[in-house]
């Protein structure tokens, strides 16, 4: 057997091993011993199906507090170029994927405060919040009106 073929078989076997481990994890949540979690997670991510769904709509918003105490909206999406769904998922997942010494939403509020300051907006504070409202077949935003909508403040700076 040629050396290149041998190397090819070795690579393929290793690759298939990781893919099989990921498949086992995908199907049965079984973790094959010896497969490092980052590799397994990465490989699992190549075959994870569309599985989660929500029965309410959510959206993340940022606001800046003016000198008179009134909050105005900050265009959060001008800082992140992502489709709406990915944008929402990112903020949901943010808390699980950051350094444990940081409060991720607080950090985002702080960074927005600093960046808006650079853009000439002198806010007293900035905050990040999530809004939730019932779904509608007529559109994503249709029920985002005050009697139906509720919101939660996730982080404020300072």
């Amino acid at each position: 057997m040629k050396i290149r073929h041998f190397a090819g078989y070795l690579f393929l076997t290793t690759y298939l091993f990781f893919l099989s481990a990921a498949f086992l994890y995908t199907m049965f949540r079984i973790r094959v011993p010896g497969v490092p979690w980052p590799f397994l997670r990465f490989a699992y991510g190549t075959m994870a199906p569309y599985q989660g769904f929500s029965t309410v709509n959510s959206f993340f918003r940022a606001e800046g507090e003016l000198e008179n105490g009134v909050f105005e909206s900050i265009d959060l999406q001008s800082y992140l170029h992502l489709p709406q769904g990915e944008f929402i998922i990112l903020f949901f997942r943010l808390k699980n994927h950051t350094s444990s010494s940081l409060q991720p939403y607080q950090y985002v509020a702080q960074r927005l405060f600093e960046e808006e300051n650079k853009r000439g907006k002198k806010y007293r504070s900035a905050r990040l919040l999530v809004e939730q409202w019932p779904m509608s077949v007529r559109g994503f935003w249709v029920n985002n009106i005050s009697p139906l909508q509720n919101h939660e403040i996730l982080g404020t700076y300072p």
Partner: protein
């Protein structure tokens, strides 16, 4: 014993045969163009995604080997811009087949860098797949036709040299496993046992106007259950169908599936998987198809 030996030879040939490069080269061009569009769309937001002006917190806790920990520190906007331009240039080189392997490998390194820096937050299947594809292509013969290399070596973009089929098989195997995992798990995921996933997907955070239009139609929930069943059945058999003799119907089905996903929930990036279907076809057949329409100039044959 003789049978075993012949089987080994068949596997050996399936993995390492020398074949015309046209299937892989066409994939290289479509995939490269797709990547270029994907990354160009992120360009206006570069300071906020990949530079130290970004609003996202650092990602240092989980899953990053310690020797890579210096990399997720975002650079200044100027350096980030320079790095991005270099990355996009290598993607263009990759499409043109200019030092294809090097271009693919550098693009792979950049993709990995951006993955650790920010894209990992989104945790999308497509970003991972594209990183894997670039890595595999970095040791492939994808630049052995329709490339600057061939123009430089033989005087024509259409000239070609045979390549080892191994990288092509690897990408096809990866795509098969992607469909296998995402298709088979739907067989037991609770939301997929009724039409719930489909229904809420149509009116959820990713849904398009077209999706809302369908959801607003006076359809019973039975419609969504049937749709869920069709998707599950199709994805269950798709990984095998792509390798079967009736593969063209599965290519068509897969293409329709991804186009519908794009129309309904806007996940257009999976359209890149349609380009991988060419890698499931016998490279000789792709070559003959290609040769019939775009004959190689006589002196280069």
């Amino acid at each position: 014993m003789k049978n075993l030996f012949s089987k080994h030879r068949a596997v050996d040939s399936w993995l390492f045969a020398l074949v015309p490069p046209h299937a892989l080269a066409l994939f290289r061009i479509f995939f490269g163009m797709f990547l270029l569009i994907l990354w160009l769309r992120r360009l206006p937001f570069l300071p906020y995604l990949f530079a130290n002006g970004r609003i996202l917190p650092p990602l240092l806790d989980e899953g990053i080997p310690s020797f890579l920990s210096p990399f997720p520190v975002p650079p200044s906007p100027e350096i980030a811009c320079l790095l991005y331009i270099i990355f996009l240039s290598f993607l263009v080189f990759f499409i043109l087949g200019f030092y294809t392997r090097t271009s693919a490998f550098v693009s792979f390194l950049f993709s990995l860098y951006y993955w650790f820096l920010a894209m990992r937050l989104v945790e999308a299947t497509y970003d991972r797949l594209f990183i894997i594809f670039l890595f595999i292509l970095s040791f492939s013969g994808a630049g052995m036709t329709l490339s600057w290399t061939m123009r430089h070596r033989h005087g024509s973009w259409w000239a070609w040299e045979p390549i080892v089929v191994f990288p092509q098989r690897l990408i096809a195997i990866q795509v098969t496993m992607t469909y296998l995992g995402s298709g088979w798990q739907k067989a037991w995921l609770p939301g997929w046992q009724t039409g719930e996933v489909i229904y809420y997907m149509l009116i959820g955070m990713r849904s398009t106007r077209f999706a809302h239009f369908i959801a607003a139609l006076p359809l019973s929930f039975y419609f969504y259950e049937v749709m869920s069943g069709i998707v599950k059945l199709f994805e269950f058999i798709l990984p095998f169908g792509l390798w079967s003799k009736s593969q063209r119907w599965f290519f068509l089905g897969g293409a329709i599936f991804h186009i519908l996903v794009t129309c309904v929930i806007g996940m257009w990036w999976f359209l890149a998987l349609i380009a991988t279907y060419i890698l499931f076809i016998d490279p000789e057949k792709v070559f003959m198809w290609f040769e019939k329409r775009f004959p190689t100039p006589a002196p280069l044959r």
